[in-house]
Symmetry: D2
Subunit: 342 residues, 4 copies
């Protein structure tokens, strides 16, 4: 059994992580910390866990985190870079679900996150945890940077095209739509039901923190840096990301075959048949990414449709997938739930 700790379990990523870990046959939940909720039963905050998760939130300082095999950080950005290093020094393996270790360039990190990075030495050692693009490095990693939700959907959808050399790498477009749980459980006016329901809007068009992460990830697959226009939107779903991706062909190729071959052995990436339109609900509450490829009117613009559940493949599920890889378990262990539809 893997002894697992969770730092910051009161947000949506945290509760989803608890749902998955509590049902994982190889995991023993050892501790969940929350500064604000120390002493509270986890199941008092999340009644969905009643009679199944009996832990209480504990003070970070009191929690036996250094006795864990792995600690997940489900904290706001900027926390793990301060609190993870002592655990790492003690030999604990860490998976950070926030953005602290995602960008390799400390200058870039500081620019997008508005503060200097507190642990640049660990930033250098951190492994980007997108298994389908980076599996081998994850096996031996001590510190995994779990990708953002948009970056997961966008990179899985564009990777085969970028690797193939068939498309113009300087004018990629990612028009992405996210459910509201992506904004977290923090009380903010813009996430209120009466603001977000029956409403649709773009946001962050001038620049979103997931842009440099996507650019960095895709550039590693290409002979030169890629350029991307990334427009995120808020849509009245609880869970789900739908990325609609546009790339201009610069050479001919069988795009459908390219995708099918690229992901043939991936348990969590499902390439749909030609002409299909994946729905977000077809992956709801599961760790699956579904992709479809189109070339409308036979013109030179390829359209890729990519859907994930932002809380699972876009966050907690991917973190568990990374844990499975790090600890030599079957990659699908504890992640084999069927999507919930309707």
């Amino acid at each position: 059994m893997i002894k697992a700790g969770v730092v910051g379990g009161t947000g949506y990523t945290g509760v989803e992580l608890l749902r998955l870990l509590a049902q994982h046959p190889q995991v023993e939940l050892a501790a969940i910390t929350s500064r604000g909720e120390a002493g509270t039963l986890v199941s008092d905050m999340f009644p969905s866990l009643r009679r199944r998760v009996t832990l209480r939130f504990s003070e970070p300082s009191d929690a036996p985190l250094d006795g864990c095999d792995v600690v997940f950080f489900a904290t706001p950005n900027g926390v793990a870079m301060h609190q993870a290093p002592p655990l790492l020094a003690a030999g604990v393996r860490v998976i950070d679900l926030a953005a602290d270790f995602r960008l390799k360039d400390t200058g870039e990190w500081a620019k997008w996150y508005g503060q200097p990075h507190a642990a640049p030495e660990w930033l250098a050692k951190a492994v980007y945890g997108l298994p389908e693009l980076n599996r081998l490095a994850i096996v031996g990693a001590q510190l995994v940077a779990n990708p953002g939700c948009y970056p997961t959907a966008v990179q899985l959808g564009l990777a085969p095209l970028v690797e193939s050399g068939l498309v113009d790498l300087e004018h990629l477009i990612a028009d992405a739509k996210s459910g509201v749980s992506g904004a977290g459980r923090k009380a903010e006016t813009s996430s209120l039901f009466s603001e977000a329901a029956d409403n649709f809007k773009a946001y962050g068009v001038a620049g979103h923190r997931h842009l440099p992460e996507i650019r960095q990830g895709l550039s590693r697959l290409a002979p030169r840096p890629v350029e991307l226009t990334f427009v995120p939107h808020l849509t009245p779903l609880i869970r789900g990301i739908h990325a609609t991706l546009y790339a201009r062909l610069v050479a001919e190729g069988d795009i459908q075959a390219l995708f099918e071959k690229r992901y043939a052995d991936e348990p969590f990436v499902d390439v749909l048949p030609p002409g299909a339109h994946p729905e977000t609900r077809s992956v709801r509450a599961s760790n699956v990414c579904r992709l479809a490829v189109h070339r409308p009117q036979g013109a030179d613009t390829v359209v890729v449709l990519s859907v994930i559940d932002n809380l699972v493949k876009g966050a907690a599920g991917q973190a568990v997938q990374n844990m499975n890889i790090m600890f030599g378990l079957p990659e699908t262990e504890g992640l084999w739930h069927l999507p919930v539809l309707p």
Copy 2:
């Protein structure tokens, strides 16, 4: 392994049953029939099942149903009473998720379902499959009538009061609210998104088919027939029933203790602490019923709040629970998924 067949797998109850059976460790899915969709891959209709359920829908006449250990009917009302008897005669065990075998009185059945009953001899033998009220009879049953969704939520919420003799049995009130999936997957104007979203309404106040079922079920627990005012409402959820139940006390008693004791050993009924308000999402995609008991202002009206997922505890999950009981499996086998929240 239990060989299971499903008749009519194209509705919401059917796809939910497939989701649960496909993940059940003791079940082998042998056949799924659909007259209209014979030959279609189940996963082409429900992409959520892609790469996990490889069956095709088959013609009822071609399906090896009589070689199954158990056959589930997820058909419209009036189908199972015609198609189940030959299977039953062949020794197959049957769980009907429709209403064909729920009412004991054939006259009452004919009145509410608008046709004479086609198999009154099986109606007499059928066992009402609400395990928490009728477990012993289910063990040896060959034919189980799986309860309706409203009747499940209402009976679990009122049973302890009715059994206790503490309340006026002639003026019970059940104000129940259901998500739209309760209306099924049939294309009807009233179930359209643009009709049902951002809208709330009562329906069937003059008389709903679940009324005689509730009345029959509760009357079995009481010294005399109970009388009930039942008002169902449509609320913009996909899944979920919330029943708000009102009963007038005619004697004093510790209602909280009554409920806790009544359901102490039930794996799927969770009595919340005093003062709680269960949410439908706290049971989403799970087989759990959560209950809370109130006595506002200390007056003589007791208020019980009861929530279930109408497709799980209110339909497919309860059917699997009944199967587990019928075949001597642990009652929670294949039903131990945690609720999906948010």
Copy 3:
């Protein structure tokens, strides 16, 4: 033209009031105050008002409120009782959309609102602004207490029964369901989209502030104090209240005729034909209350269904209706918008 001021225009009640006043042919919007947003263009906060409302929020101290004919308070509870008295003393007429002047009993007010009342002399003079029950008193009122949203739906639905003497006044039941905008625009976790969408729950069963208001209002229509069980629920609508009301008959009468006669001359109360089920969307964005009356199975329990838009007839629209009455305008002036459906 009536010069109107609005204190606290940044919540949902405030923006709805602005929508109605900006389109009212006899009103000139003179000032909108907000301590937190002073200087901001109203239409920067609410882009729906762009190019139509050109005012800026102003500091309460700077606003020419005492030069207004009428000032609306769309503030949190406990503000108007401090800020309205000087305006009232200056001869300004005031309509308070909060709860400050709704309860006549200062002890009761203090108990439910957790503080002593700051202006008991004005509490005594305030007129309860439910026109259909209290029109004559509103005509000459200087200070109107605009009713709560639940109390409007519940009182309009129960008033004919209470007045008639046909029902048991000690066991009325109001099972009420509200859209989330009723919780206001304040950033609170429980009002987040990801908490309230696809979810249904009761709240405040032990006691809600609208209970004493309903009790007070209905008791004025009866020979003795009425007793009521009031259970509010949160439903995933933006706007809308649906109250399902239960009363036990103690004498016979034609209930349908009773309701039709009672509201025959009311422009904003619509009694539906027998057997109907009003939908919340049938009154969306309008000042109408629609009612239907049922007597299921001919038993002695009457069921009344009552729907309003909580922000219009339950708040801002009713405030404008009160203003029309106070200033001798046709009651429907500026309130004659058709509901928005779908």
Copy 4:
């Protein structure tokens, strides 16, 4: 007073047209036809119109349509081309809200709508009713083809760029998202609440009927035919379209100023300040289109955000705007309702 008739008033476009016409100060509703609902009170089908619209649906053959000044067709595609010509011959002016007269090329029309065009002579005479691009022609038109919902949002958003010559006309991209009311009131499984709620998907990527309409409209503004990739999506709103438009700059220019100048005198097009993100709800139930222009990271891709209410500016409201223009009324007459927010 303009005598107006409506053919086919039972869909969402029809009921929205009724809402607008019933409140229009210069219109008298003379007849509403429906083959299936002849004899039914309009307000029995749409209770939102109770006590305000007293007409009954009538048989098309019985309705006094040829005595009308204007007849609106809110019928499925393929009806108006058969039924409008006799009325046109009788001198009645016609506004078709379906697609029958939108495409100028009969071959193109036949290809996209799957049947030969029945009235090619009227197709040639029809005027495309997008006032902001074609106002002068509408003034004298006898037959107006009211634009599709997507084409309205997309053309208003791209027109200034296309006219300016600043962008690559062969690689425009329109990523458009529509609320479910755009699919109409027909009972179809894909429009069910339980299918469309909490779900997001693209559809028709291979080719949507609005593509040739957009291409035709934009090409008229350009020196040569434009090429466009158009990807529509279904999003869980009732009303609203959000089009995210991408164009590659081929020359420099002040895009913000370009848009502001282009629409400076338009009552129904609102160009937001730089950096803004229009929301669909900011135009809900109103005839307004709001636009914002971005140039992310200063690169050569321009992003335009365009929102409308698909039932108003995308259908019924635009039809009334066209009527106002045709009959010499102020263009905003009867269309000056403020958006409903929240």
